[in-house]
Amino acid sequence: MMKNRDNRLTLLLLIPVILVLIAYVLYPSLRTFFESLQKDGSITFGNYQDFFTQASKTNLEALWNSVYISLLSVLASALIGIPLAFVFNRYDFPGRSFFSTAAIMPIVLPSLVGVMAFMFLYGETGLVPNAIKDLFGLEKVPFKIGGISGILVVHAYTMYVYFYMTVSSAIHKIDPSLEEAAYNLGASKSKVFWKVTFPLLTPAIVAASLLVFMISMASFSAPFLLAGGFRVLSLQIYFSKINGDMEIAATQSVILSIVSISFLLFMRWYQNRKDYRMASKGIGAHRSEVKNPFIKWTMVMIGMVGVIILLLPHFTILLLSLVPDGTWTWQTYPTIFNFENYRLLFEDPNILKPLKNSLLLSVIATAGNLVFGVLTSYLLVKRKFVGKSLVDILVMIPWALPATVIGMNLVFAFNEPSIFTFGNILVGTFWILPLAYFIRHIPLIVRSTNAVLEQLDDSIEEASRSLGAKWFYTFRKVILPIIMPGVLSGTLLAFVESVGEFPTSVLLYTISNRPISIEIMNQLRMANMGQAAAYGMIQIVIIAVVLFISNKFFGVKAEQSLS
């Protein structure tokens, strides 16, 4: 029931959101769709028919593989991310804040170098299997990753962070008296977790599942490097494109998006069956002091071991960066370590340019994301309007489409003047990259903000407004500070992802804005693994510094709103 003024406010807020979505999401995506309808110069659904009736069934096989790998990735990421979020947010122990920051580190792994680090670690000739082999005098390496298991390991490793972060911020928002009530009714720890805490985290888990499912569907680097001949849809798209079959690539992209969006709709339906707003009377945030020391310390141990495993790839990159190129080719273990790679890098007077570019681009894009994402999320969660589902879908499209497709869309849409760019050609200019990052990461902030907003009791906003605060003031002073932890976690993710973004960057970067990931790629292409790793290290350090600073900031905020 929304009429007049409130209606108008909703509309007012909705207009910019819709405009942005239409201009930068819908319009470019439609181009892909039209592309998919082209066949032999006429407009038909023939490509779709081919997709499903193709004799060799490769597309169907790829589709099926993508779906089940994505589902498994969601599962695996959840299994790592949720427990870690619990350990680090519910238990206090020495070094907790360090470990909880370290747990975000997988996200800072530069995508290509990261996957290669995995190969160096766990591949057939990798450090870990060989170390075990040599240590125990085995005949053959005990295990290695590759194929599906490899993809899954890498996905779980890089994507659990979505669970970790969204769940972390949602845990803080749960009124502890709800869990107390459950304990009081005689529920065991696991009952309380499964029947109360976990369901209350549904918005967060749904958000994370969506994000992970969609990136897995669209994931490129991991299947590309690890799968060899194993077919997944995102690779099919890439190869179709390489082969010059743009219409087929478009068709495959559309189908991939449809699958992802169906998942979105399913999750939305699932979540909307229940209500997750804490409607307790008063603020019941007494921290429960119930702690079992035994459980606590086992959890802590698991957490610490987990973090060490999580950081191994980073150490591998560090290791690679310290090994001069050409001294670790056929040897099982490297023998020479020095700073040669760094020296070579820093001899280049332009070394800092890509770093600066990346940071600048990410700041611009993330700032845009923050404003747009929070606004959109607020509309989606707290306002009623017609066509909400549509907005929700539009928001998720940039995540449902593979990054390269997004890049292509942008190229198609903006290599000619259009009203959305005020008559400018964007392709080939500086602004195309921030725009691309912005579009790519819309879903990230919207989703993570949704998760916390979903839990916010409406009467808080009402109280503020009845005290005379205008909507905007209320939003700034009341809603925003309360949901800030969730928003920040999304923002951080978006920022970090932007700094390392590769697939769209490679299509769109120009001389004036060449980002760091391109630089890494170029080093790799020249077989300068060491220098690529050194560059990767620089990227990791920069992101880590940003994370550290904001985690401090984030931690302080969180303390204030909770204790």
Binding site: S56, T58, E61, M116, M119, F120, G123, E124, T125, F143, K144, G146, G147, I148, S149, F224, L225, L226, A227, G228, G229, F230, R231, Y238, F239, I242, N243, G244, D245, D325, G326, T327, T329, W330, Q331, T332, M408, V411, F412, N415, E416, I425, V427, G428, V506, L507, Y509, T510, I511, R514, I518, N522, Q523, L524, R525, M526, A527, M529
Partner: protein
């Protein structure tokens, strides 16, 4: 800047622009070197973007309405042919036209060759002796190499596409039927342990002995061996090998056409070709380059006779067939 460039005495064809943009997959080392030398000579600001050749094509295509690049330096001739067909290139006949053999340039001069890349069989010299190593393509099918061959995933690689297509083409040129070639590839697939997603993985795996054989482009193998200490050696197949021509082209509607032409000329002077050969292991296309390094003069390359037009027309179809019907998907899944 404009005064200084006009003051250059050797400029006869009028004023050059003060800047030039180059798209090239040649890598930082080569590009920096030529940037430096070119800037010194012409006092023109050189900017380059270093990216894979497929990406250059994509990008030139996407910038069609608003070209950013002047020169596209480095890509197999097939890519240039494709770009030419899409109307992305501007014809330019260089002054050294006479020094190029027939096959080393586009008939309409949309591109011209700067170096030649023979494809070779490469092996791990720590694990395989020169005697053991296969001497020709067909020896790769020997069952003794089962699970010893690592191949760069062909769909995304110009080099690999060329090799695979050449294998089909061997029979196709007579029979006009790819069936025999497919059969050959099927047998190769049976011996292949893994398809690597990128060259780096392939290098690393062959070097560490996960596999011991591969097929690849000669200059890269030489470069790895000489500069990066990889335990690689190569063999040029006795029956002949496809030799790719790497070229250079001027982008259509380039913003700095004059400078582009200057650069075009500059990187294929005999001096430049010599530097490329000596420092970067590239075999020149010009027939008037003197004092080439020993490894070039010593190697005898038997070039396979290929009609690149047919190649370009058919290879997409062949590769698709390979992808959908020959490549065994379960191979890599097994642990």
């Amino acid at each position: 800047n404009s005064e200084s460039s006009s003051s250059k005495p050797e400029e006869k064809e009028g004023k050059l622009e003060e800047k030039i943009v180059i798209y090239s997959p040649h890598g930082k080392d080569i590009l920096s070197k030529f940037e430096q030398q070119f800037e010194q000579k012409y006092n023109i600001d050189v900017e380059w973007l270093d990216m894979g050749s497929q990406e250059v094509l994509d990008r030139v295509r996407s910038e069609k309405n608003n070209p950013q690049a002047d020169v596209w330096w480095g890509a197999p001739s097939t890519s240039f042919d494709q770009a030419k067909d899409e109307g992305l290139l501007k014809p330019y006949e260089p002054k050294y036209a006479a020094a190029l053999d027939e096959g080393f340039h586009d008939p309409d001069w949309h591109w011209s060759g700067t170096s030649q890349t023979p494809e070779v069989i490469m092996y791990n010299s720590k694990k395989v002796t020169k005697e053991e190593a296969p001497k020709d393509w067909d020896e790769l099918l020997d069952p003794k190499w089962k699970d010893k061959i690592i191949i760069r995933y062909p769909l995304a690689s110009g080099t690999m596409r060329t090799i695979f297509s050449a294998m089909i083409y061997r029979d196709f040129k007579n029979s006009n039927e790819p069936a025999k070639g497919y059969e050959w590839l099927e047998k190769l697939d049976a011996n292949t342990k893994e398809y690597s997603a990128n060259p780096e993985m392939m290098y690393s795996k062959v070097a560490k002995g996960e596999g011991v054989l591969s097929v690849w482009a000669m200059p890269d193998v030489v470069m790895l061996k000489e500069n990066k200490n990889y335990p690689f050696e190569f063999i040029i197949p006795e029956s002949g090998t496809p030799v790719l021509t790497e070229g250079i082209a001027v982008v259509k509607d380039a913003p700095h056409p004059k400078a582009a032409e200057a650069f075009y000329e500059f990187v294929n002077t005999p001096e430049a070709a010599k530097i490329l050969a000596e420092e970067f292991y590239r075999i020149p296309t010009r027939n008037d380059v003197k004092d080439l390094p020993k490894w070039i003069t010593d190697t005898e390359i038997k070039s396979m006779d290929i009609d690149w037009q047919v190649f370009q027309k058919e290879s997409d179809k062949w590769m698709q067939h390979w992808d959908e019907n020959i490549k065994s998907g379960d191979k890599e899944i097994k642990e």
